[in-house]
Amino acid sequence: MTDTAATGRQLPDRLDNPLKSAVLSWESLLVLVAVVIFIVNSFASPYFLNAWSLSDLTFNFTEKALIALAMALLIISGEIDLSVAAIISLASTLMGLALQYGADTPVLVLVGIGAGLACGAVNGALVTKLKLPSIVVTIGTMSLFRGISFIILGDQSFKGYPKSFAWFGQGYVGWVISFELVLFLVCAVIYWVLLHRTNFGRRVFAIGNNDVAARFSGVRVDRIKFILFCLTGLMSGVAAVLLTARLGSTRPSIAEGWELEAITMVVLGGVSILGGAGSIIGVVLAALIMGLVTFGLGLLNVPGIVMSIFIGGLLIVVIALPILFRMWRQRA
């Protein structure tokens, strides 16, 4: 048996050309869609091609997209978190509370991010320690977290955040480049490395493909899932800081409905909702596409609800197209 190596039957690393598969990938489809929408936008509205417009555009998606980055990893691992928007609400409320006790900017930021992390840890513990399905757990914590905000705030709102705090949501790093955008791009790179270039990311994919086999292969499945819930909570906390700074105030009903938007970004980005497949580049592109569509239609004063038809339609069409194409090719 040891002599098989001597027979020289070498297994090649791979058969198909990586370049070819890159061209045929989901990401290139998304790039195409993004370019088309960009061109359509520039023809449809004279105000679109303007540095400030393009800069304002990014505010439409950066906060949600930050959550989508972490959510992508979570969904790839086969779980989901519907409570992210509620975490924003609770984190923002706790920041407001800290403000009432005289906290200054660094403390506020820490409180926001810490609260997000803690909420994520609660989700993670419920899912991994009690072995509960994440979709129902997070439907529950979604009401619970936002409910706590309502208990704390009632009919009040917190305001009067310091100027230095407002910078996180309204500041510019240089010219038209906002802090939010820079933060998002930095996080995107970090998450890309984490998912595609580290052991951790490799294990996330393995878990999403088959968590039983991953466990039997010595992967600490529960620990990784717990970390992923914490990361998602953490990013929600970051988004809470940005959003609170941008709005300059806190209400319990803040960020309502964002969970579904973040998940839509992830799914549109080509992440399999069943787990095990997806890429960060896809998610970033999907965030950009959603920003372009909503802003472009906004310039034409199309009501937001009509934009959501486009987004919903885009989601189904973009996912259905490759399937239809495959079916058509098989028939031919």
Partner: protein, 501 residues
């Protein structure tokens, strides 16, 4: 000679990248058992699925009683009188036994509503006729694996069929139940039904089959009457070369104790299990299916937690809380359910192999693909893995080759103790010999091997010592010196005391 009930001609079926069936033909005769024989991945189960309307053949024709039929759904197959016991138990845990038998063809009243009462009565009748001793009203999940298989048999019988197909029906049954199944098959033969019987076990093929058909790589390579053909001829047809059924000779020096378990207990699954395995030793675990051996091994591997007892590895007490802990300590486990627990089917070979060794191939947590490919290549080539590239998806490999990926994955971690749970279950004769040879090599290199197996020849042929378990308890540990198979069977079945008395 009577005419065949079922005739297949020129049946082909392809999956992406695999030609599972290539213009095969087959005839089944009334009142006769035809054995379908072939290596893993030869296309036997695929044929069963095309016959039962689950897959559609790409080409070829199926005739039942001389007429061409098409079988677009499972319903249409039972309508023309074809029924099957599939290789995987395809039943419903959360439903009652009666409903498991009748789902899809339940008796209805004149409003089209399911008639539960008739259904239960008929289910009881069928089960009683098989002497199965199963209450039709309990939920399936409350049954053991063997009884579940009997329910599958009852389901097949509840359809009034002319052709009965059995895909490895005895793989999960104990000897007693296998005997009962043989009686049942005799009854079906007397009824004039045509039976297709798939098995890797030659003893039972010679016992019950009248005819045989051999598949190799999706093609039909031979057929004939069992009584005119010798076992070695069939094996030759099957693998395309002669195979000697002798277990490899071993030259391992047995050294000091590596792993020692004392009084391992679990609240519901096993109690007071103690054993030790030495360097260079193969420790066999024998028992009937469901004796709890896998549960013990999974506890040693950290997958389940024991309620008491200790584990010592090279003299140091270890308490693995997860599989990761066990792997770190140097204990690895090749699970019984390959598809579910062994390989990650959605991922390529090299990622499967490197998964537990990422710590070694990576640099401060960052992946290094070149190292991964090198590692995967080293170990898969040692095992003579048959694949087109290291990036091939594991799901496209045959069962035997998937098993090799799992073993390669563990060897790459350089373990001290390797536990193999039913390492040759459902593996064809050629691959089986390779696995046995490989185990001998592992111990020669100084590893300790624990082998869980329900196959007597394998246990006796490979082990140095044998632990016998029954119903969650350890019965005995025996040195493997001129051991008689009957001794083991008695111990495992619990008839030792009676004999003594």
């Amino acid at each position: 000679m009577t005419d065949p009930i079922l005739t297949l001609t020129g049946i082909s079926k392809s999956f992406p990248g695999v030609k599972a069936l290539n213009e095969v033909s087959l005839e089944l005769y009334p009142g006769q058992v035809t054995a379908l024989i072939g290596e893993n991945g030869a296309g036997k189960s695929t044929l069963v699925k095309t016959l039962t309307g689950i897959y559609q053949p790409d080409a070829g024709e199926i005739r039942v009683g001389g007429e061409i039929v098409s079988l677009p759904t499972a319903h249409s197959a039972s309508a023309v009188g074809i029924t099957a016991i599939h290789q995987e138990t395809v039943l419903f845990d959360e439903m009652t036994v009666a409903e498991n038998i009748y789902l899809g063809h339940a008796p209805t009243n004149r409003f089209g509503m399911i008639d539960w009462r008739t259904m239960r009565a008929e289910a009881k009748e069928t089960l009683d006729s098989m002497a199965a001793g199963i209450d039709p009203d309990i939920k399936l999940k409350e049954l053991g694996i063997a009884k579940k298989h009997l329910v599958a048999v009852a389901r097949a019988l509840s359809i009034d069929a002319r052709v009965v197909i059995m895909d490895e029906p005895t793989a999960a049954l104990s000897q007693k139940e296998i005997e009962e199944l043989y009686v049942l098959i005799e009854l079906l033969k007397e009824d004039g039904k045509a039976i297709l019987f798939i098995s890797h076990k030659f003893d039972e093929i010679y016992r019950i089959a009248d005819r045989f058909t051999v598949f190799r790589d999706g093609e039909q390579v031979g057929k004939g009457l069992i009584k005119d053909t010798s076992q070695s001829e069939i094996v030759q047809l099957m693998v395309g070369r002669p195979v000697e059924g002798i277990f490899p000779a071993r030259h391992a020096d047995i050294g000091e104790v590596v792993l020692q378990a004392k009084g391992l207990s679990h609240p519901t699954e096993f109690d007071d299990i103690s054993f030790s395995v030495r360097k260079g030793e193969i420790l066999g675990f024998y028992g009937l299916v469901g004796a709890g051996r896998s549960e013990v091994m999974q506890a040693v591997f950290g997958m389940t937690q024991t309620s008491s007892g200790t584990l010592e590895l090279s003299g140091q007490t270890i308490t693995p809380k997860s599989a990761a802990d066990a792997v770190e300590a140097g204990i690895v486990y090749v699970p019984e359910e390959r598809g579910k627990q062994g390989v990650i089917t959605g991922e390529p070979i090299f990622k499967n192999v490197s998964l537990p060794s990422l710590g070694k191939t990576s640099k401060s947590g960052f992946l290094r693909m070149a190292e991964e490919f090198a590692l995967a290549r080293t170990y898969t080539e040692r095992l003579d893995l048959r694949a087109s590239s290291l990036s091939q998806n594991v799901s496209t490999l045959s069962g035997g080759n998937q098993q090799k990926v799992v073993i390669a994955k563990w060897l790459a971690t350089e373990p001290k103790v390797i536990i193999l749970d039913e390492p040759t279950k459902g593996i064809d004769i050629g691959s089986k010999a390779a696995v046995h040879e490989f185990m001998a090599e592992l111990v020669a290199q100084g590893l300790s091997v624990i082998m869980v197996s329900s196959e007597l020849p394998e246990v006796i042929g490979m082990s140095d010592r044998i632990v016998v378990m029954r119903e969650g308890r350890m019965v005995d540990t025996i040195e493997n010196n001129n051991l008689k198979p009957e001794t083991l069977v008695r111990l495992a079945a619990g008839i030792v005391e009676e004999q003594a008395a």
